[in-house]
Each structure stands twice: as structure tokens, then as C-alpha cells.
């Protein structure tokens, strides 16, 4: 079967159990089993090619742009791992069918399991290292879901997150490592990379690449100091633990080290890092395992220890070490999966996994006893079982390994680790199955149905067969070893056999087994010592680091982000001043191209007023009314400035805008306290003054320097001047720019203005509907109201002025294209006229005389402007293309009709509508007569002082 199918089957198959959950538990498990079986058989069809020493390849281009292709490769190493993954997978599926209770969602479980399985198969079959990375990350993700499968358990959630964080870190490191590796070789294909040992090892980037890749391997394979996640992942249901932690996930790191062995191993860096990490992990794991009371925790740490053993063997960099590693991978997968499943059986039947509450199960669960004993004895390294053989080879290899110039360091530690390994195996058998039968088991234990015990029992067959007749496994082990070695080393001549003669390894083995028995004998005092020994708890350290990071984040973020606006503004100002200054110092700045103009005394006096008003504003800003007046002065001075600089249009606009805004702000002021309270300390105000001054001076300096230098080319405004009449039909360039050259900008701006008005309306609506509405209803003005609400003089005057103002507006609008003026200014002027009516005669009077709702006026304005723009499409011209013509209707003079004028009508209408709508909204706050529709349940403001006194 094509390799694609083998990889794809579990992924596509993963959909089935999720969808079939309703079909029943057996059907769900059955379909999962079938999918896996199909992949398994597909794998086996490739066996002849593998046995012939061929490498099966398959390739599809996926992302050639990034050097990533879907290239798969099956050699004996990949085949070996795939066989373990799918073969043990089949047993696990059968086991899980029985193990999961009816409360567990089975479809979900098997979906995750198949996803995980597919990802694992993908890892071992990948030829492209980037593809391998993808599958690698997918195992992290799917194992996260599997480990957290019992999501109601906090330990499950924590364990899953920890596993994902640690393996995710490794995965990210590996992305870096693989990219560097690919960069060195110039290809991401393993088949190419594996041929380039010398090139890689000679590259200066070899060490970083090695470290990053090893980070990935070590985190995945739970090597010290990343071993701590694995025991916490035991919160998962037992089938998950059995699958992930015997044959698959944790073996991924081992697989990758084996895969990369030909090109990465053999250097001092590889040797020191990998061997010592493996050695430490082996010893540490074994020691901790002995003192764990939870069966699964014991097995977890024993897994950690055995992974260390394999890592160490790969680290030595010799061919014999590699062969021993391969052999132990096979052996460990068999006995460890059997042990995990048995632990699950015990948990399932006795409802506890605590060794202290067990004991005496030998007679109650004889089948389980048999399975566990054989598997555990194999793990302890007892002859005639497979564990013995590979452990012997490990000790033999350890004996030849010189680490840190010490010939005894590795052998002693290896023996020490083996001793504890033997001890926990003996404890597992002794404390669980031997001893008196108890009467306080949480549930009455007995052997389960065959569905549960058969899968582990099947795994015991290879344990015994290989143990008794190692030559059965030898061809296969050598075949796989050949793949690991590649062209980097010769196949070792040694054979797998039980009796090697009286070699040091045998003595070490004997020491370990005997020592293990002694350890079990003195277990109780040893445990006491262990419990009283203070030791760093990796999980605590991990959590401390995570918490410290979160604390650091909080310490960094929260004070910065405390909601004080002045602080944000200060940061922004400082940033731009510093960045600007820094930029200023980097580049060349030529000499000024022209001199400073002499200052006119009139100008200086105007400038002086502007500055005085601004500074006065800073000092008087607590008095809101006074500040408003000062703002008015500033605006006026700016308008005068425009006049002086010969920009009458701007001056008119600025002036009318000033009038309207001041009126609107006065209305708003009516509802605010007279004075702004003091909110910041003196120190803060000093800081703010400093920041503001820096910003101001910087802008000044910048403007000063720019004004002394000419632009590099004539500006586009010269085109505007030249074409205003010719192309735009108007002599007032400013207006032609607004409605024609850059009418598109104006279109955007009238929308902004309209939205602003609609927002003011929406905000007042919201306010009046909320608690503020009640407050307003009960509001007592802080100053007595004038007896004469609508002074006669003012009413008469404003009504008389209304037609005049309208005429002026009309005139300014019409003349706009050629003289100062235009729709925007006209709109403001007309609005002022109408505002006067509101002010003088009152809101109700004025609005009663208004026929059109302001919303509609705004909408009409935007529509007119918009359709003027769209209109040009009908003559196949771009948006907003204008046209004009001259007409003569006697007795009038010849005059011009321009589509731009229509656009200006739109501007005019939206300005009038926007201003009036804002005004209407403000005044609604003030109207008490027709009370607004209050959505807030309360019409009384309880915080009103005099009401309280009345009670």
C-alpha cells in the first residue's frame, strides 16, 4: 500500500468514530480498530521491500515555495516504529473499548486517538524534516487532547497543559533547529541530509542546530531536566498512558535521535549532552519511581528512567550502543505497554492504584499477576526475559563509556540505576500481589474479562519468546540498526544472546538484582529517609517559573496600563520626541535654502496674543467658562493668521467653525460643574509640563527647519492654480480643490462630520435612557434661571436677521466657486442663523417651525454628494469627475453650471444637518417640559441632597 494511505488512513479515519458515537460503543471501537488494522496491513505489505533492504519513497509537492514537500520514506527504522505504533495501537483500541466507562464519550476518545496515531505514523515516515515537524507538533496537540480527556479532573487539565507547554517549547526549538539544519545542507529532505555528515558537523551552526533539535527530543522523550511533565500526564485514562508513554509519543524523541544519529552523533557535543542527559534521567527516574505509591506514577517514572537508558545508549555514538538502543526500544515497548494496561486493570477492578492499599492480589487476580510478574521481571532484567538482554547490552556499553574523563562514572551510575530499576520492579510485584489478602480494598478485585487482559497478555508473548530465543529478533534488530547507522558506522559483529560469558556486565547485572532485592527488604526505612529528604520538585519549579512569568507580566503591564490618560499621552509624546531626535542625528541636513523673513510688529503682537491666550488657558483651565473664552481667542487669532497669509476661505471656515463649536460647547458646559477638580499631584503636573514643553519645542524646531528649505520639486498646487479655471470652471482654487481636485477627500470628511452628529444624537439618546436621564430630570441648575427666558430684544433681532443670514449663506454658496466661500462655509453660516433662533426663541418654538428632520438632511447631503460622484460613471468617467458649462438665461449674465456645485450642495446639506442635529441633541438634555422617554426604571435621583434631608 502506498505510504500516503498508511499516513492518511488514521487522519481520515479519525472522522468516523466522532460521527459514529451514536451507533454504540462497540461499533465506534470497531471502526477505529478497522482503520488501524487497515493501516497496519498496509504497512505489512511493504515488509518484503524492507526485508530486501529497500527504502520505499512517495512524494507529492505540497509547498515547493517553502521547500516543503509531502515526501514520505519508509526504511527499516521507520517500519519498526510504525509497526510498534500501529501494532500496539490495535491492542490499545481493544483494551480501551473495555476500559472506558459508559460515561466517557467514546467517539471523541477514538477520534483523538486516531489523530494521534496518524501524527505518530507521520513522524516516523516523513522524509522531509519540515513535514516531520508538522507531524511532531500534531502529536503535541493530539496528545494534549488525549491527556486532558477527563476534563472534569483538574489534574487532567493541568497535566495536559503542562505536557503541551513543555513539548510545545521543544517543538518550537526544533523548528529553529530543523531550519538551521536545512540551511546548512541546502535541502530539507532527510535522504539528502543523512548523506551530509561531514558538511553538517563541520558547520559552525552545527552546535546550535544540535542543541535545538535535542531540546525537541528531550522535551518529547521526557529527558532531564524536562522529565517532569510525563508523570503529570498520567491523569489521563490508562489506555492513553499505555499508548503514549510506552510505544509512541515519548518514543518520538528517541526516534528522532536515532533518525539523526548518522549525521548528528559522534561529536563530543553530542556525546556529552546526550549521554549525560540520558544517564541522569535514568538514575533519577529509577530512584523516584521506587518511592511512588501510585501504580501509574511508578510506571511513569520507570518510563522516564528507561527512556534515559535508551538516550544514553544513543549518546555514546557507537554502533553497538545504537544496536542496544534499538533492541531496548522494542523490549521496552512490549513490557511497558503490558504493565500500563495491567495497572489499568488493577485500577479498574480494585478502584485504586495506590500500592499501599493493595497487596495480596496474587490469588484474587491470577491472570493479571502472571502478566505483571513476567513484564516486571523483564523490566528488572531477569534472564530468559527480553529486558535482561538489552539491559546486559546497556551495561556492557556503559562499561566502555568514558564520560568526563572518568572510566567509572558511567558504569557505576548505570549499575546504580539498574539497581533501583530492579527494586521498583520487585516492589511492584511484591507489594501489589504478595502479602496477605486484605479486606479493605475499595472494590472486590478479580480478574477482568478477556477483553481487558488479552491485549497485555499478547504483549507478554514477545517478552518471553525474545527472552528465551533472542536469535529470533536478531535479524530484525540488525536490519533496523542498519538504518540507524546509515553510512556513519559499521554494523557491530556482536549477536543477541543470553550468555556472554563472565563479563563485567554480568557482575553488574547481579549487583543490580541483588541490590534491588536488598532495597525492597529495607524499603520502609528507605522510604522514611526519602520522605524526609528535601528535594526540588520539578513540578513546583515549573509552576513557580510560570507564575513568576505571569507576575512579571502583571508587574510590567498593570502599572503601565492603569487607565490614566495623561500617562498614555506622556508616553506617546516622549516616544515621538525621542524617536524624532534620534532620527535627526542620523542623517545629513543641508544648509537652509533661504533666509528667515523679517518679523512684522503686527505679526508679533498677534503671535503674542496667541501665546498669551494659550498660556493663560493652562493656568485657568480649571475654570471651564474662562477656558472656553480663551479657546475662542485662540481660534480667532488663527483665523486672523489665515487672513494675513491670504487665505480668506480658510479664515472664513475657521471663523464659522469657531462660532459653532463655541456655541455647542457652551451648551454642554451648562451641564458640567463650573470648575475642573484637581486630579494630579504637583509632581505629576511638573512631569506633564516637562513632557508638553518637550513636545512643543520639538515641533517648533522641526517647523523652523523645514520652513527654511524649499521643496525638491514644484508642488502640485501649481497645477491646481493653473487648472482651476480651465479644468474646474472656478477661479477660487480652494473651492475647486475642495469640490473637484480633491472632492474625494471632502466626500470622506462630510461623512465624518455626519457621523459625528449622529453620534452626538446617539449618545444623548443613550444618556437620557440611562441613569443619567433620571439625574437630569432631577437636576437643579446651580444658578438661578433668568426670569425672562426669551428676551424680547433678542427674539426680534434674530428673527429679523434670519432672512439676511439665509441670503448671505446663499450668496456665499453660489459665489463659492469663484470667490471665497462654498458649501461648507455656507452651511455653517445658515446653521448659525438657525442656532440663533433656537437660542432666542427657545427650542420648542424653533423646532415646531422646522419641516425636515435633521437626520434626513444629513442623509440627503451625503446622498447628493455620493450620487454626484456616481453620476460620472454613467458617462464612463471615474468617480466624482466633474463637468461644467456656461449658460445664459436672459436677463441674467452668463453664468456657470457645474456638477461640482451639486456636490457642494451635498456638502452644504450635511453641514447644516450635522450642526443642527448636534444642537438639537444638546438642547434635549436641557428640555424638561417634554420629558424624554426614560428607559431607566427610576425617575428619581436618589443622590439628590435635599431629598435625603427631607426623609
Amino acid at each position: 500500500m502506498s505510504l500516503f494511505f498508511i499516513v492518511a488512513l488514521p487522519f481520515f479515519g479519525a472522522l468516523l468514530p466522532g460521527l459514529m458515537n451514536a451507533a454504540g460503543r462497540s461499533a465506534t471501537a470497531g471502526v477505529t480498530f478497522t482503520v488501524t488494522l487497515a493501516a497496519f496491513i498496509g504497512l505489512l505489505t511493504n515488509l518484503p521491500a524492507i526485508l530486501a533492504g529497500d527504502v520505499v519513497m512517495a512524494r507529492v509537492d505540497w509547498m515547493p515555495a517553502l521547500g516543503l514537500n509531502f515526501t514520505l520514506m519508509l526504511d527499516s527504522l521507520g517500519f519498526f516504529f510504525a509497526l510498534l505504533i500501529l501494532g500496539i495501537g490495535l491492542l490499545i483500541i481493544a483494551y480501551a473499548r473495555q476500559y472506558l466507562s459508559s460515561k466517557d464519550h467514546m467517539g471523541e476518545f477514538f477520534t483523538y486517538l486516531l489523530l494521534f496515531q496518524g501524527a505518530m505514523v507521520g513522524i516516523v515516515l516523513s522524509d522531509n524534516i519540515l513535514l516531520l515537524l508538522i507531524f511532531w507538533e500534531l502529536t503535541s496537540l493530539s496528545s494534549f487532547l488525549l491527556i486532558g480527556y477527563w476534563k472534569h479532573l483538574p489534574e487532567g487539565r493541568q497535566g495536559a497543559r503542562m505536557a503541551l507547554t513543555v513539548t510545545g517549547m521543544g517543538g518550537l526549538a526544533m523548528i529553529g533547529g530543523m531550519l538551521i539544519l536545512g540551511q546548512i545542507v541546502g535541502s530539507y529532505d532527510l535522504s539528502v541530509i543523512l548523506q551530509n555528515r561531514e558538511l553538517i558537523q563541520a558547520d559552525p551552526l552545527y552546535v546550535p542546530a544540535l542543541i535545538l533539535i535535542l531540546l525537541g527530543c528531550f522535551t518529547k522523550s521526557a529527558q532531564f531536566p524536562f522529565h517532569f511533565w510525563l508523570p503529570h500526564a498520567m491523569a489521563a485514562p490508562t489506555p492513553v498512558s499505555a499508548y503514549l508513554h510506552s510505544a509512541t509519543m515519548v518514543k518520538a524523541g528517541i526516534f528522532l535521535m536515532a533518525r539523526m544519529w548518522p549525521v548528528l552523533s559522534g561529536t563530543p557535543e553530542w556525546f556529552v549532552i546526550v549521554t549525560s542527559a540520558g544517564l541522569i534521567t535514568m538514575v533519577l527516574g529509577a530512584v523516584i519511581a521506587l518511592f511512588k505509591h501510585d501504580l501509574k506514577a511508578l510506571l511513569a517514572f520507570s518510563t522516564v528512567s528507561h527512556l534515559g537508558l535508551i538516550t544514553m545508549l544513543l549518546g555514546t555514538g557507537t554502533a553497538f550502543g545504537a544496536m542496544a538502543a534499538v533492541f531496548h526500544i522494542l523490549n521496552h515497548a512490549t513490557f511497558k505497554a503490558a504493565l500500563f494496561m495491567s495497572a489499568g486493570i488493577i485500577d479498574h477492578e480494585a478502584h485504586t492504584r495506590d500500592i499501599r492499599r493493595l497487596g495480596g492480589l496474587r490469588t484474587l487476580m491470577p491472570i493479571t499477576f502472571m502478566i505483571v510478574s513476567l513484564a516486571a521481571l523483564s523490566m528488572a532484567g531477569i534472564p530468559l526475559l527480553n529486558g535482561f538482554l538489552s539491559k546486559e547490552m546497556m551495561l556492557e556499553e556503559a562499561n566502555h563509556t568514558v564520560l568526563f574523563n572518568s572510566p567509572w562514572l558511567v558504569p557505576v551510575l548505570a549499575t546504580f540505576g539498574s539497581l533501583f530499576s530492579a527494586a521498583y520492579c520487585f516492589r511492584l510485584i511484591g507489594h501489589v500481589f504478595f502479602g496477605p489478602v486484605r479486606d479493605d480494598y475499595p472494590a472486590k478485585p478479580h480478574d477482568p474479562g478477556a477483553g481487558l487482559w488479552l491485549p497485555p497478555a499478547l504483549l507478554i508473548i514477545p517478552v518471553v519468546v525474545i527472552g528465551v530465543a533472542p536469535f529470533v529478533a536478531e535479524p530484525f534488530v540488525k536490519l533496523v540498526t542498519a538504518s540507524v547507522l546509515g553510512s556513519a558506522a559499521e554494523m557491530p559483529s556482536a549477536h543477541l544472546k543470553i550468555w556472554h560469558g563472565l563479563v563485567p556486565a554480568l557482575y553488574m547485572s547481579i549487583i543490580a538484582v541483588v541490590g534491588g532485592l536488598v532495597m525492597l527488604a529495607i524499603f520502609t526505612p528507605a522510604l522514611r529517609i526519602w520522605e524526609n529528604t528535601p528535594r526540588p520538585e520539578a513540578k513546583v519549579i515549573f509552576e513557580t517559573i510560570v507564575e513568576a512569568a505571569a507576575k512579571l507580566a502583571q508587574a510590567l503591564i498593570l502599572p503601565l496600563h492603569n487607565g490614566a490618560f495623561s500617562r498614555y499621552a506622556a508616553v506617546g509624546t516622549i516616544t515621538i520626541v525621542v524617536a524624532g531626535y534620534y532620527a535627526w542625528t542620523t542623517g545629513t541636513i543641508g544648509a537652509p535654502t533661504h533666509a528667515l523673513q523679517p518679523a512684522d510688529p503686527v505679526l508679533i503682537s498677534g503671535w503674542g496674543m496667541l501665546v498669551a491666550a494659550t498660556i493663560g488657558m493652562v493656568f485657568l483651565h480649571r475654570n471651564r467658562f474662562l477656558s472656553l473664552i480663551l479657546i475662542g481667542i485662540v481660534g480667532l487669532m488663527v483665523s486672523i493668521g489665515f487672513v494675513f497669509l491670504s487665505a480668506p476661505d480658510l479664515a472664513m471656515t475657521q471663523f464659522t467653525v469657531e462660532v459653532v463649536t463655541i456655541i455647542l460647547m457652551l451648551l454642554a458646559l451648562n451641564f458640567l460643574p463650573n470648575r475642573t477638580p484637581i486630579e494630579s499631584s504637583v509632581l505629576r503636573r511638573v512631569r506633564d509640563v516637562g513632557v508638553a514643553a518637550a513636545g512643543g519645542l520639538a515641533s517648533f524646531a522641526l517647523a523652523y527647519h523645514y520652513m527654511l528649505r524649499d521643496p525638491v520639486a514644484s508642488s502640485i498646487s501649481e497645477f491646481h492654480l493653473a487648472n482651476s479655471y480651465k479644468g474646474g470652471g472656478g477661479t477660487n482654487v480652494v473651492n475647486v480643490i475642495l469640490v473637484d481636485f480633491r472632492g474625494f477627500d471632502t466626500f470622506g470628511e462630510i461623512i465624518v462630520l455626519s457621523i459625528a452628529a449622529l453620534l452626538i444624537y446617539a449618545l444623548t439618546e443613550t444618556l437620557l435612557g440611562g441613569p443619567v436621564g433620571a439625574k437630569l430630570l432631577n437636576r437643579r441648575p446651580d444658578q438661578p434661571r433668568a426670569g425672562d427666558m426669551h428676551p424680547m430684544m433678542m427674539v426680534v433681532l434674530t428673527r429679523g436677521m434670519m432672512p439676511v443670514v439665509m441670503m448671505v449663506g446663499f450668496y456665499i454658496f453660489l459665489s463659492g466657486h469663484n470667490e471665497p466661500g462654498g458649501g461648507f462655509i455656507a452651511g455653517l453660516i445658515v446653521s448659525i442663523g438657525m442656532v440663533m433662533q433656537y437660542m432666542a426663541s427657545g427650542f420648542s418654538w424653533a423646532s415646531a417651525r422646522l419641516k425636515y428632520p435633521y437626520h434626513g438632511v444629513i442623509g440627503a447631503g451625503v446622498l447628493v454628494a455620493g450620487f454626484t460622484g456616481i453620476g460620472s460613471w454613467f458617462v464612463d468617467k471615474p468617480f466624482l469627475t466633474s463637468d461644467f458649462t456656461y449658460v445664459r438665461i436672459p436677463p441674467f449674465e452668463k453664468f456657470e453650471l457645474a456638477t461640482a456645485a451639486l456636490f457642494d450642495v451635498g456638502v452644504f446639506l450635511s453641514v447644516v444637518g450635522a450642526v443642527m442635529l448636534s444642537l438639537e441633541s444638546f438642547s434635549r438634555l436641557a428640555r424638561r417640559a417634554d420629558a424624554p422617554q426614560v428607559l431607566h426604571p427610576m425617575d428619581i435621583d436618589p443622590s439628590r441632597e435635599d431629598l435625603k434631608e427631607g426623609v
Partner: protein, 497 residues
């Protein structure tokens, strides 16, 4: 040609006016949906044309560039317009189930369409001042959406948002004035040519910094990001989704546009600054997220952190890095908008957004859980989802330049992102609800309206993830245009001068 350019803008304007007129009727929401749908069709049409022609330009008012205003669509603009339309369409549908009658009455749908128009306009314009106008349109519309029918919290957030953005606006305007003073032009293409003639490079760099800060505020980069977390967690979820997806990206887009086309005179300085900004932004954002426990606040800080990656792509300025930035932009908009939409559904079901106080979603709403898993792990950069490729390309670009430390930061930030996403996942989804609530999807008032857009965006993430090749090839073409603007300039100014 100009049809293709103006339609994506005119449609939302017209839709907004109609929606406003119908604001009191349930039809208003449908106008918004139809408008967004038509806008989507128009953007697809634009994309098709641009894919074929490379760059198209339209002169508004038929004034030749650089004297009038030019709308230009190169591949970057076209893809941004398209992704805006996609997000807009999704959120418009989602709004059916999220926006209250009262918000609609106050003009929600009209403001939403205006916002889309503003964003689209910013992507399409080829004129600096016109870009400013679109920024204004966006700002006012987004302010409106923030405070619409809001309480104290919303108004507080909204006012800060506006005030800080106004600082950026003032800087932007000043920068435009100064740049115009130096070059006498506002048109991007013309600027690109004129800037080369400027002798006072130091002054030019100062202006460049002003633009960097102005756009940096919009993009919420370090140290100018304050407004974002202050405001994004307050409005309704549909609003925050479109903000999260689109608004900051306009700033990123503007930075990319200006700092590839106009301000490339002193890359050694400007892009080094950007590099620092990028690193700090990535780190501070992700740390900020780690410090939060509110669904939306976590997501908000992650926007900042992810913006860092995009800026990083720009800062490195190699073809691959820019490919990464473009890819990241597109991926991020889809994913982030979707996460906010999901947060909205989660809040409706569980009654809160504080992750430690909610839970149980996995069990009672497994479909939502799957829908969350996809964008969340895409954001965290897991394959085979879109985020993996985005991160992968950026990291590869840094490694190609042998910037080890930068690569380390990019990867470490990725790890912290995983941490935050699993926090939400473990607390809001896996953990049983502390009050025992078992929130089911069928309790949603308008289930289809809320789930269809979420599912659609999730599918898009998967499509990009599983078949990234065409997207990468597209990003490569885009990058080629960015690094060699001559076709852009030729399209805008007519014959190359």
C-alpha cells in the same frame, strides 16, 4: 477600471445610508448583510482584475495623478480589501444574533458599514492625505461603535480610544504637512520618486519617524498600544471582532506601504527601529496576555503581540520576511476576528468572559469547542493551521539573516501564546462551569447567525492551513510588488516619467 476600485467603497456607503433609514426596522440588519455581501462580490471582482493586471489605478475626478486623488489596487491592497470584505460579511451576519434592537436603532448597522468603507478606503487610496481622511472616517465610526448604547465603561474606553488616536492623527497630519513641504506632492507613487531627490535625508528620517509613530499608534505597537486594551473589551462582540480583525491592521498596512515605498532611503535606521519595536511588541503583548484572565482581554493583548510579528516581517525587509508579514496579516485577521466572535457566543452561553468564572463549554457545546480549537491553535501556531505557516515563514526569515535572538523571541512568544490559548481552553471549555451551568448552543437567540460566520472563518483557516501554497505564491507576488514599486508607479502616473 475605476469601477472596480470605487465599488468596494460606494457599496458600503450606500448600504450605510439605507441601513440608517431603516434603522428602526429589522430590515436594517439585512441591508447590512446584503451590503457586505455585495461588497464581498465587488472585492472578489477587484481581486480577479488585480491578479491579472498586477496594479490598477483610478483617478478620482478624472484628474491626472499626482494632481487629483488616485485609488490604486496592487496585490496587497486587493487582498486587504478582500479580507476586509470577508470579515465584514461574517460580522454582519453575526450581528443578527448579537446586536440589540436598541443599538440597531441608534445606527449600529450604518456605522458598521461606514467603518468597512473607511477601512477599505484606507487600503485602496494612493494618496497620503486621502489616507488621513479614511483614518478619520474609521476613527469616528469606530468611536461610535464603541460607545453605542454604552454605559460608563464603554464611554470611558471610547474616550481614551479617541483621545489617544487623536494624538496619532495630529502627528499624521503634521507629517503630511512636512512631507508635502519637502516634496510638493501627496501621491504615494509620486512621493516615492520625489523622496529620492530630497537632499536633507536627516529631515526626511524625522518625518519618517512621525509617520512611524502615527501609524504605530494605529497598529498598537510598543510603546503606543495603550488604547487597544483600554477599549477592545468593552463594546459588543461583533464590534470588537471587526476591530480586532481590521483596525490595527490598517496601521500595519500603512506602515508596510510607507516603509517599503516611500521611506526606504535609510533602511539601516528606520528598519532597525522597527525591529526593536517588533520585538518589544511581541513580548509585551504576550506578557500582557499572560497577566489577564478575561477572555477578551487575553485576546486583545494577543493582537498586540501578533502585530509584532507582522512588523518584524517589515523590519527585516527581505523578500521572505515580507512574504511572512503579508501572510501573517491575512491569517491574523481571519483568526482573530473569529476568536472574538466565539468569545461572544461563549459569553452568551456562560454568562461571562472571566475565564475562571465560566466553563463547561466543551461538554455542553462541543461544536463550539471545535470551532474555538481551530482559530485558537492557529493563533498559537500549530500545524496544519494557517498560523503555523505565518510563524514559520517569519522565523525562517530571521534565521536566514542569522538573527538568532530575534528568532528566539519569535519562538518564545509562540510558546507563551500556546500558554494563553490553553488557559482559555482549559478554563472556559474543559473545566465544568463553577455554577454548574450547562450552556447549550440551542439557547442562543439566533444560533445560525452566530455560528455560520464562525464556522466559515474557521474553514477558511483550515483551507489556508492545508493548502498554503497558493497563498504563499500570492504573498511572494505581493512582496515582489512591494520591493519593486515601478509597476505601481507606472500604473499611477501613467507612462514612467
Amino acid at each position: 477600471m475605476s469601477w472596480y476600485l470605487t465599488l468596494p467603497l460606494v457599496i458600503p456607503f450606500v448600504a450605510s445610508i439605507i441601513a440608517y433609514l431603516l434603522r428602526s426596522s429589522p430590515l436594517g440588519a439585512w441591508v447590512s448583510i446584503i451590503g457586505s455581501g455585495l461588497g464581498l462580490i465587488a472585492s472578489i471582482a477587484l481581486m480577479v482584475v488585480v491578479l491579472d493586471a498586477g496594479v490598477i489605478a483610478g483617478q478620482m475626478g478624472n484628474w491626472p495623478a499626482p494632481f487629483g486623488i488616485t485609488l490604486v489596487a496592487d496585490l496587497l491592497s486587493a487582498v486587504m480589501v478582500l479580507i476586509t470584505a470577508i470579515t465584514g460579511f461574517a460580522v454582519a451576519i453575526y450581528a443578527l444574533g448579537d446586536i440589540t434592537e436598541r443599538q440597531a436603532k441608534l445606527g449600529y448597522h450604518a456605522l458598521f458599514q461606514i467603518l468597512l468603507a473607511g477601512v477599505t478606503g484606507a487600503f485602496l487610496t494612493g494618496d497620503l492625505f486621502n489616507l488621513y481622511v479614511w483614518f478619520e472616517v474609521m476613527l469616528i465610526a469606530s468611536f461610535g461603535l464603541l460607545i453605542l448604547n454604552g454605559g460608563k465603561e464603554q464611554i470611558d474606553g471610547g474616550v481614551k480610544y479617541v483621545a489617544l488616536n487623536l494624538i496619532s492623527t495630529i502627528l499624521f497630519l503634521t507629517g503630511i504637512g512636512l512631507l508635502y513641504g519637502m516634496t510638493g506632492t501627496l501621491n504615494f507613487a509620486d512621493l516615492a520618486l520625489k523622496v529620492e531627490e530630497v537632499e536633507n535625508q536627516g529631515l526626511l528620517t524625522v518625518v519618517a519617524m512621525m509617520f512611524m509613530v502615527a501609524f504605530g499608534v494605529k497598529a498598537a505597537v510598543f510603546p503606543l498600544f495603550f488604547w487597544l486594551p483600554a477599549a477592545y473589551h468593552t463594546p459588543s462582540f461583533a464590534v470588537s471582532a471587526v476591530f480586532a480583525g481590521l483596525l490595527t491592521k490598517v496601521g500595519v498596512y500603512a506602515l508596510i506601504r510607507m516603509f517599503t515605498m516611500v521611506f526606504d532611503h535609510d533602511i539601516g535606521f528606520t528598519h532597525t527601529v522597527l525591529l526593536w519595536v517588533a520585538c518589544f511588541t511581541m513580548v509585551i503583548g504576550v506578557l500582557g496576555a499572560a497577566a489577564q484572565s478575561d477572555f477578551r482581554k487575553i485576546l486583545s493583548f494577543h493582537i498586540i503581540s501578533q502585530i509584532g510579528y507582522m512588523i518584524l516581517g517589515l523590519a527585516l525587509m527581505t523578500p521572505l520576511a515580507l512574504v511572512g508579514a503579508v501572510f501573517y496579516l491575512v491569517h491574523h485577521i481571519i483568526v482573530k476576528a473569529n476568536l472574538f466572535l466565539i468569545a461572544g457566543i461563549a459569553k452568551r452561553l456562560t454568562g461571562g468572559t472571566e475565564v475562571y468564572q465560566i466553563g463547561g463549554l466543551y461538554k455542553s457545546a462541543p461544536f463550539l469547542a471545535i470551532l474555538f480549537l481551530i482559530p485558537a491553535f492557529s493563533l498559537a501556531g500549530f500545524p496544519p493551521l494557517s498560523g503555523f505557516w505565518a510563524k514559520y515563514i517569519i522565523v525562517k526569515a530571521t534565521l536566514d539573516l542569522e538573527m538568532w535572538f530575534v528568532a528566539f523571541i519569535a519562538l518564545a512568544v509562540g510558546l507563551m501564546t500556546i500558554y494563553s490559548m490553553t488557559k482559555i481552553w482549559a478554563e472556559a471549555f474543559w473545566k465544568p462551569h463553577p455554577e454548574g451551568i450547562e450552556p447549550e448552543l440551542k439557547t442562543l437567540p439566533n444560533k445560525a447567525a452566530q455560528l455560520i460566520p464562525v464556522a466559515g472563518l474557521a474553514v477558511l483557516t483550515i483551507i489556508i492551513g492545508l493548502n498554503p501554497e497558493p497563498f504563499v505564491v500570492f504573498a511572494e507576488r505581493t512582496t515582489a510588488q512591494l520591493l519593486d514599486p515601478s509597476p505601481y508607479i507606472a500604473a499611477v502616473l501613467g507612462e514612467t516619467p
